[in-house]
Symmetry: D3
Subunit: 288 residues, 6 copies
């Protein structure tokens, strides 16, 4: 098969950590900002203000492990700029989370909200932990204690977390429950991405992958590409990647290759995505 046009490559793998080994991520984010600032002709004062994060909170907190021992974890919550309104941004659990990474992500949240006109500033949080090494009980203990520690800095009018890498609706439910217990009544507005039964938004699960495809559609329109004649390659077949793959297929694009952290698969005539998803649900990977 001869491709008339190069495939649409959707890269959703979390390669930040590799990058970061060589570069300070926040420094990268500031440099990006300064390029944009030149384009926008921002004055010097505004550049100084926007190239810093307003508030960076680091909390070190003990968690009881299942074996009765105590581990101390380091958590972050950074608010880049509260000018436009409450700040907003996810919380990630990853062994390589650093303050610099969280600061960069908080800054990017400000830009993301600004380009679509949402009245939010950017924020981000994280805990330095490999959640795959924790039991559910430990994960719950960690989430509840981290929530209590950052409680003075978050809230529906102040700073609103969301799920991110390795966090999910269950973790947001624990966060919301902890916050609500501590103030003495239910506060659903303290987080987004909570389970729908607790007031979460419908469609949020697919939102990241769908937004990715919205961007592809607009890019294709501007460049005059016909997606129905395109092929698609997805690097990172997790939640957003698999949603994006399915939506590209619905637009008529042949999804010819997908990969995850264990490897990739390729079929020049297009993969059977239902079969791939079923395989991944069963084995944990698209490979094999």
């Amino acid at each position: 098969m001869v491709l008339e046009q190069p495939p649409v490559i959707i890269n959703l793998s979390p390669t930040i950590t590799e990058l970061e080994e060589e570069h300070d991520l926040f420094q990268v984010a500031v440099e990006q900002f300064l390029i944009a600032a030149d384009v926008l002709g921002l004055d010097n004062d505004m550049r100084k203000i926007l190239s810093h994060c307003q508030r960076e909170v680091i909390v070190n907190f003990p968690v009881e492990m299942d074996d009765g021992s105590v581990e101390v974890f380091t958590g972050y919550r950074v608010q880049h700029n509260s000018g436009p309104g409450p700040t907003k941004g996810g919380i990630r659990y990853h062994q390589s989370v650093t303050l610099s990474e969280v600061k960069a992500l908080a800054m990017w949240m400000t830009w993301k909200c600004a380009v679509v006109g949402l009245p939010y500033g950017g924020a981000k949080g994280g805990v330095q932990v490999n959640p795959k090494l924790l039991s559910q009980a430990e994960l719950q203990n960690l989430t509840r204690r981290y929530t209590t520690e950052i409680q003075p800095f978050i809230g529906p009018n102040q700073d609103i977390p969301a799920p991110d890498v390795n966090t999910n609706p269950q973790i947001m439910a624990w966060l919301m429950d902890t916050y609500s217990m501590n103030v003495g009544y239910s506060v659903p507005g303290v987080t987004t991405g909570k389970p729908i039964v607790l007031g979460g938004s419908e469609g949020r699960n697919e939102a990241t992958g769908r937004g990715c495809v919205f961007a592809i559609e607009n890019a294709a329109r501007i460049q005059g590409l016909d997606l129905a004649k395109s092929s698609t390659v997805v690097q990172g077949f997790g939640n957003p990647g698999s949603v994006a793959a399915r939506l590209m297929a619905e637009l008529g694009s042949a999804v010819v290759a997908v990969s995850d952290s264990r490897g990739g698969i390729y079929n020049p005539n297009g993969l059977d995505l239902d079969a791939v998803s079923a395989h991944k649900a069963r084995t944990g990977t698209v490979v094999g």
Copy 2:
């Protein structure tokens, strides 16, 4: 003159920054703690908890300069351990302040309160600025904005600042006034080291130097030295150094040498401290 015993050397110069160029100061503090923990036989969980700071807050805030431009400064407030009660610790203004230094100083405040049985945990704050380059108006603007930024984390029942390197009763008065204005009524308890007319403690000005001499007296008693026959050398003739020198002289010790950042002076028969202080007040240094 032949000295019968080596002089008492009082070193009060802020040599932390030189040290820090080679070592991470918080790492030094943790190592010191672990040595003490071995002596105390502390269990592993307690070591993990106490070798971290509970809460570290970094704020980046704009200040309007006298020429109308804006500078963004980085301030810190670290609370090491709130177990014993409200946390307590000074705020320093210095161009080489780092998070690691503030964390180390906060930890040391916990130990200092604990060894004398005060029901306080340790804290410390700082702003990365060379205050000697600022006008009084700029210094006031910086102090008021920094206070506003850390306001949610301090208070009479929570965390109580104090003067430290390059901060003084005037700066504590601005801090207290800003905090009080923001809550709508006067809160003298939000800081110590404020001017006596605003409720500051008598004797606080001399407290650091006097505490230093208390330690010397106890050490001399234990080692069987007679301070009345001793001589004294003071490195760092600032507020605590000049007070310590005067008190050593009152105990009968000959203060034979004093120095500051510009150099030192020596008189084997003992210096005339009133004359030295007057000279320093006039010229800014003990030299010349």
Copy 3:
């Protein structure tokens, strides 16, 4: 006249108190819940949690009577489950109000909100008093003091009262005014069922009766009954009963009998409801 089908019987008389003489009302509510839990297949943990009320507050408070003496009244506010959001439920004034009754009603409010998908948990309140024995001044004093006592537990984001048996928009206005005075500014969201001029909802007066008829219409549709050919009997011709009667008549049903606590009237050809209402407004009963 031969009825082709048995009449629609609308029973709105407050017979709870009779029932309660023999049964503990909350026990009844829990048993109902457990039947539903079996149908839903709820797990054991969830059954335990939902068969209790989260928070039950009892307040005993003095009220000055018109003759200058003091009476102490017992009031309740129970919040069954705040999981779905703020809790919501009426306040009743009745001499036979008990904690058990208020708990049962709070639990039922959770189910009522849940079946129609409202993001509220259930709550209920009450004061043990026969309001018909109080003057308006005493009723106002009692309402204002009861409101002050439960003020820490209610609020627009926390728990929102409403009128119930023997309470009305005037009492909600006193409640809202007391709450607002105490916090220092107007808080219309602290209660529903207030007078329209203070921000109450239009249509609320008819809402209970109308909801009753909505249920009848749906039941008739499912059972294939033609309401236009039906007759209606209303037991309890108070606010909801008279509204339901009027709406049934608008649907073409002949309202052949209505009753209140003093007795009932019957006309096989249908009653003139305007005349009945006018009679009741004048004499206090439908009888005679």
Copy 4:
């Protein structure tokens, strides 16, 4: 030229101060209210309550001038009636602001909100200052300090300022920023009339002038006048006056005369409003 009908005269000049020299403005407002109360048949208790302002706050606060000296300014914030909901009203900066004037304006805000059915009570604020004598830095200092002083009495659920005479979106931005800094997170709802980029409403700039023309259109309709055949005279060619003039011209009315505090201009065939505005922008007046 013979006018078929007298011109529409739009008077937007701030002649309150002249009036006030002879009359106490709040007394005037109460007398107006009592006339309306007679028409409405209000009872005596309601007249007593509504003819007073609930809360009148006077603050005297120091501001540092550019030359280092301190001036003490007097500011007001009056809340007439919080019954309908949060109170709402502008803040004016004028050398002749008095408590009586601010009280009258607060009362009028209650009536203005009531006649259009907005769930707000009336409020008003002001500072006794001639803002034209202040530098931008002094104006900012004054605004930030005044905001801090009235902070306990305002807020999105309590009392919401807006621009008024000599205040503008920039001043509201300082107010919002001061309030937000003091509480520690962004509170856009604390004021209306802020810059659109901070969450201000589109169309607000033209709202006062447009509302004026809405009133004229309704009056003309009722009186059977044809505005397309009318001529218009505008006294006070500031923001609302120039907007009203432009909108009247769009309705076909010939704007034959406009004036400001320095004088007026007249052209029986209608003025070129773009030219007039350009002239005023350049010279500060319509004259010359």
Copy 5:
């Protein structure tokens, strides 16, 4: 009898209102301050700040009278200067209370606290009412509503009322109870001068009269007068006047004349104060 020295004249009658008819009382207070400022050599900025009251709150609030009608009363609470700590000052009920009077009294409270070194700023409050025309029930209603209205501005750490002209421990008990009810728990520190059983201070009842005699003793000592040989005249035989008279008698001074608002009595050999007090308790005056 020939007096060797003129009598000590103790004037405690509330003649402020007469004075005020001719002078604005706050203007008088400012002029006094400026004389003292000259003596102290205060700089210009400090004069400007101290010659104003920081915060002046006026509240107009409805009270239900015994006959069911509503009266609207005007209350004041003025805080002159919160620099030294919480503000402190009495609340008076008098038909001639004005804002100017309350401001003057608040300023004087600052000076009174300062001269004896108490860490309080000055405040004062008042309600424009002739309490002698109110029943106890009306007085209680008025006090409770006034307390609620000024509640946001008072509190143990903020501003602490006390009894003054026509207010007493009972009124302070109502104030404390209202404040406590509104926050939901007991706050004894919100007022001084409450009944001893509620935590009031012993000796407070006699404090004003005793302080007066302390001043006389010091004046006599400085002037070399022997009080045991003096005679005393007391104008205003209310609480402080009768206490002062008794204490002067205990010091050996002959109290030869006392007066109240109805007239005076004179006995050159000294009055029998027990008899005078008993007469006044029975008849309401010293006359007759």
Copy 6:
């Protein structure tokens, strides 16, 4: 051995539950109060108020057990009267805790504080649980969740818990830590009876037993008994019982019998209390 006088019998066994099987404990407490009220001649209004508890809070809360299942526990916190100041009273964990018992204990705390003149009102709390069936982890989970549920009602200025039956310094430490975590800083004043290292009072451990002996000494003095010639019997050799026994022995009384829930021991010549305590520490009982 012939006793010259009957032995002092100290009964500290928790026999409340047996009593309660037959009587409603709060009813007993009210009856006691009414007897005292007759002696004191209390008026009717005061009797009505004091024979009720101001606020009774019941919380039902889930706790995760070690096996992963959930149990729902019922906790109480009752505040009898906050008139004298903050309320104060212990928290007990017992399977037979009822609302009536907690109400009675809260009322008795008011009387206990009043008779010794402490400025506290009475309160009491409890959880219906047999703590001996819980692991330490479960006990901690239960304590932390109960604390969170009653958090809105307690605090240093509001209501201050303490240890009681089956609760101890460790449990108070968990309570204080939970409260402190939730507000974000250390609040040692939220409870008494915490470990001394966290700010607990020295001597508190012995306080109950010592108070018991103070009462005995006073009774003996009034009755003319010589305790040095007495013998003592202690029923309930727990914390207060063993302390009381030791103190009675120090006063010269022969402690001839002690018992606990498993039985008793008797030695007419006096027991060796150190040996008894050591036996109990080893075996859990005085018997055997």
